[in-house]
Symmetry: C2
Subunit: 203 residues, 2 copies
């Protein structure tokens, strides 16, 4: 059978989520590098696959496509140990994944993008200050949870941990200091030391 | 058995999503009105239920809580006709729900909030202009899909439609003109005319 294909930018945490899940599950796949900054997601060819013009994008052997990093995690993990054992645990995993996309990624990932890839331009400084405030609020919610649990849901590693690990472990690149967040740092270490782990830098 | 409880603000589209799903499924529940603007979601009592301080919040008879509107939709619809028939259709439904929270709600719902509830203050005008641009981009993605399908996924009404209907049908209150989006307007009419429909104004 043909392999699953992922269209992604290696610098993107949203794309790294899929690398991490595939590594944990020992699923082989093809990676197609897409350069966001060069406009690769705005070409007619790419927009035909994902009209929303975003990566990552999963391409199935039968030609169907699936967008949104967290929806792809759910698809690949469906029915397995990383996506809960009953309706409530699946919903709690989804709760953390929606939290990630609404209350975490727009602040922590976007700060990293502005600082690391746009070179922290003067006209984005006020925006960065606002994002720091909201990003730390998200980190406090995570810290409070991880003070009591090894992993976000049911004390078991799941795709919720993958979704939130992606940008939290590089939060320093967005100007966030995790020194005051020992529970988050312990959780990062636990995820990093799993046998199936793969780092963001490597494919 | 005790009923499910929903903590919500009747003016919020995110909260309305749950009213609409419960109405479609004929599930009875208790509604607890929470006033965001009065700070009801920042009290110690509320934060003990949802540390992220957001509504809607679902409270189960056994005392567990679930946050994030779209995660609650998934929980309530789990195993039923409104949440797909296989792993791929569930993932496509989730794709649209993540699209809603990342690419639609922050622009269309937030514009409505700034205009209708904050009275469109001068210092938010530049922000509003930016949100109009991104909001129309989201509407174009929906229009393109709905030109070919009656409902967003598999031509069948699902929680993806509920999630996106919530703020799309009141997009005009956020300054968005749907005149140029006939496919979206047809989809709104189809949802509104379903027997299980309930309008946003009524409980």
């Amino acid at each position: 059978m043909d392999k699953l294909k992922v269209y992604g930018d290696s610098r993107s945490g949203n794309c790294y989520k899929l690398k991490l899940l595939f590594s944990e599950l020992k699923i082989s796949y093809e990676w197609h590098e897409v350069d966001i900054l060069a406009g690769d997601t705005r070409t007619p060819e790419f927009l035909a696959m994902n009209p929303n013009g975003k990566i990552p994008l999963l391409s199935l052997p039968d030609g169907r496509h699936l967008a949104e990093s967290n929806a792809i995690l759910c698809y690949v993990a469906d029915g397995g140990d990383f996506f809960g054992h009953d309706a409530f645990s699946r919903a709690e995993i989804l709760q953390w994944m929606f939290f990630e996309q609404y209350s975490h990624e727009p602040y922590i990932a976007t700060s990293r993008f502005i600082i690391r890839y746009l070179g922290s331009p003067v006209e984005r400084q006020a925006d960065l200050v606002q994002k720091q405030k909201s990003g730390y609020a998200a980190l406090r919610v995570m810290e409070q949870r991880l003070e009591h649990y090894e992993f976000l849901v049911d004390d078991k590693f799941s795709i919720a941990d993958i979704a939130l690990y992606a940008y939290t472990h590089v939060a320093d690149e967005g100007g966030f200091d995790l020194q005051g967040y020992p529970a988050i740092r312990g959780w990062i270490d636990r995820i990093r030391s799993r046998p199936g782990h793969i780092s963001m830098e490597l494919k």
